[in-house]
Amino acid sequence: MAIGIKKVARPRRMSMGETLYLLEIVKGLGVTMGHLLRNIVRQENIPTIEYPEVRRVMPPRFRGLHRLMKRPDGSPRCVACFCCSTACPAVCITIVAGESPDPKVEKYPVRFDIDMLRCIFCGLCVEACPCDAIRMDTGWFTPPENTREKLIYTIDMLLEK
């Protein structure tokens, strides 16, 4: 491929007034003062969201913290098929399956942990789930915690959400 030559426009020479700088400073001061006054008078136009009190409304497809769905009787919908943990690119889902006393259910998760520190919120687990048992529609980010252990969400926490 031939190397093309692209002419980049040189900045034009500054005028006398601009080189003096003082006038430009005054102009700049005008801009900042304009913002200041505007924002003092019309506080509601400031784009800042005052977080804990005001929360951004998450779009419906936002992928937040996971939750596990329940059956009408309150037991987890999850059947421990491992599809989510297989799909998970971050390998953050740990499942231990168990034999349910109810032969209709047969298999259920004894343990179902998601390591939120490793999760990349890709949503592949939700896509993979054949039972619609896991969703990411809580609209929440990972909250800060003091220890890593607190960010490994167990099945009870996930069912709670």
């Binding site: 421990a80 098929c81 491992f82 599809c83 297989t86 034999e99 032969p103 047969e106 298999k107 054949p130």
Partner: protein, 526 residues
Amino acid sequence: MPNFTINGISVDVPQGTTILEAAKTAGIEIPHYCYHPKLSVAGNCRMCLVEVEKFPKLQIACNTIVTDGMAVKTDSEKVKQAVTGVLEFLLIHHPIDCPICDQAGECGLQIYYMKYGLHKSRYAVEDKVHKKKVQDIGGQIILDAERCILCSRCIRFLQEVTGTGELEFFQRGDHSEISIFPGRPLDNRYTGNLADICPVGALTSKDFRFKCRVWLLRGARSICPGCANGCNVEAHFKEEILYRLKPRQNDEVNKTWMCDPGRLEYKKANEARLLTPVNRENGIPKAAPWEAALSSVAFRLWEMVEKHGPGSVAVIASPQFSNEELFLARKLADEVLRTPHLGFSLRTVGDGFADDFLIKADKNPNTRGAKLLGISEEKFDDIVQNVADGKIRALLVFGNGIADLSDAETGRLLANVPFVVQIATNEGAVSRAAHAILPSASFVERGGTFTNHAGRVQRFWMGFPPRGKARSAIEIITGLANRLGAGWKSGGEAQVFRAIAQSEAPFAGMSYESLGELGQTAGGKG
């Protein structure tokens, strides 16, 4: 030799070959469920339909013998439609509970649906016939009648291979289901094979139930360490945990079967493992780094030989170890320690049951190998006598236990020896008494060869590196010998086997290449 064409490829096959078998030689896959190479042909699943020229209707490939000049098509539109139709029928009442089914991932229905089906279901879910799920029918098997496609493989297996015939079809039409007779559960030692031959999830293993999904498992070609028969197996593991053993086809040894106790042999590679070298100081076991452990063991052995003569040291080998390891153990005893006391003790398990099919009374995979390598069993009684008389000052024990001695007996016997070293994989009476423990690798954590009861030398492969700090026994023995001044070159099992082939007559001319996957029979008598 009839010559026939399949999809335009012309092949010669022996007289009496079925189209299905013949297609395999031409590299063409014909889908099938009821056909199994080691069972009689039933021809009831109709999955293997092919088009044969001049035949008005499609034929089942599993039961049509190839004749000269036959022209077969497996890829015509007609065949495709027929196969998809058959699959749709088979799936009509299927519960599609793949998420909870252990077969998922290796299920014939899943595989063929993706290849030949991909149809939309035309049957309403409410109309499906429900049958009994989760039935414990004895043995290692759980039955889910709903998933069954009625191929009858299991029935034929129980009639033709074990001859026990516990399973049978019941009911008619779409209410047909497979079941045991009331009050007569599976009663043979080969039930595990039912889970293997069932192409779907109707018969699944109780032991493997819900433990792991099959697509997460990796496999290593191996040899069952359970008895002298040396069944060829595939060891399935995830990370460092073994989950199951599956038979690997070897028509000379186990065809495609294995016994139930053998299937559980994997457990000891997971549980109660010795994972770090241990030195006992003043009666308290202490984990030691390898270098220190090996050096101190070597020093104590040397000390005993120097002070009390080589006759004060004894080596008890074990046929749980590979030919390579036994060979080195013998060299260690003969050439380095120069002790006359070298024998091997046989592991015993359960009632020592044996039959005329696969299960052998000798529960060691390499007894024949030990004998061929010139280690004698008779010497073992001699060593025990010497130990009891207090003549042995240092004892090197291979293996987790000593012959059929109970824990108490083992403890009493070893109390007579001032210095006991153990090279083994699992905790037990010996490890509780030993003064030094050198943990060795389990059968999937190293490679090597076993010689089965019939003198067949068979390879097993490493699946994953030794767990914890364990090491292969080859390394351990070489390390000890070199610390005692032997100056051996350290090498892998292949190198040791080459040395065996050179110096041991029964193994002459063998190499890992010539053994291949299925093994080779050793010459000479043991």
